[in-house]
Amino acid sequence: MYDNLGGQAGVPRPPLNPQPTPFANASYGAGSGFLRAGLGVYGEKILGSSSEYVQSNISRYFSDPQYYFQVNDQYVRNKLKVVLFPFLHRGHWTRITEPVGGRLSYKPPVYDINAPDLYIPLMAFGTYVVLAGFLLGLSGKFSPEALSLQFTKGMVGWFLQVLLLKVSLYSLGSGEAPLLDIVAYAGYAFTGMCVAVLGRLMWSYSYYFMMPWTCLCMGVFLVKTMKRVLFAEVRSYDSSKHHYLLLFMALAQFPLFIWLCSVGA
């Protein structure tokens, strides 16, 4: 009797064990696969659409900011020479182009001395603020509020410079230059301002020599650069109108420099 009962109890146990296991495996596998597929599809859709939307907007308003920071020490040194001594620039002022994806695009700054960058303008602006702080301090008018005011004044000056270049290019029939190009060209003005303020720090009378000199250099640099920009954009060249507007652009540097370099006044 007992032996028979043991045998009967032993027999149904093996078939019971494998039954839930394949069900669990099947359900888990199916669920995970389905979920993974769904997430993948939706994720790709969402990410794809958002990235496309963001890229389209960015490309509409700005060119790639990364392009303007592809610089090295050699480029920075050479570019500073070109900006501060434009008369000594023996090479041409045309930017180098290369075919990329069936469309002409410019080479990055690290390969082309004439390409604009944003590193030098940013550093020049920072140096301008620090030198203005030193000038305020040496004249006994330093306070964090005065320095913040000088910072704001510099930002306004940069904005006015961008506005001047943009309006000039528009009036000359060329509105296709990217905004960051104009911002970079406008920012190079701070390089000359730093030299003028530094001269004022060293010897106050040298300010009256450095100021006109840096204004003239910046004017020449802008004229040559804008002429290349215009030539690249506008094939028809109305020489008289272009010359007058370029001259106006150069002459506008003088009041702007005088206003921005009058620190603590």
Binding site: Q66, F69, V71, G137
Partner: protein, 246 residues
Amino acid sequence: MAKEFTVPPVVFPSGGNPGTGLQQRRLPTAPFQPPRSANLPFMSFDVGSATASSSFSAPVFGGNTVGIGGTGFEEELPLLEELGINTRQIWRKTVSIMNPFRVNANLHEDSDLSGPFLFLMAFGLFQLLAGKLHFGILLGWVTVAALFLYVVFNMLAGRNGNLDLYRCLSLLGYCMFPMVILSAFSLFIPQGGMGIFIVTAIFVLWSTRVCTRLLVELASCGDEHRGLIAYACFLIYMLFSLLVIF
């Protein structure tokens, strides 16, 4: 004569006032009785409240002592550890910054903002001793400087830029330590002389060197832009030195 006699009877009605006086005598007896009756419930209330307070206080004290003693003190974490401030790590990082020629970059892999905050408060305190109130300005300028350095570094590094703003703020704050020392020294150096400028130049170069080295070593690819990053750091620490000098 007869008319003169009629005037005194008019005075007699005023003599009726004692009658009203009698009424007044009756009135004061009435208000005395209610306070007497009220006194008893007042006393009974006081006795009741006294007993209630005594009964409430004993179990409350007992419960509090038992609860606090049992669970709180034995298992409670130290306050600094609970807040996430690692004082030992802060000390080690500070000591590593002391040596401008060999900085241990591995210590700064874990970024934190407790050390920078301590340094900024110390900087502000030394400025306060010099008679300048710069606490808010320091915090604002450090934030703007961190944003500036973050933008410049990641743009220069290109696609491989892996420096996040938290780490940038942490490194910038830790490298403010030479600035704190400069702020302390400036209390004893005369303001108008050339000495303060020389000392300032030494400490600014120290901060710049340490910060540049840490940035280049912690972020994977910054070697080819070392000089450019160094200039950005130099500008930042020069700006903070202006607060000390003037």
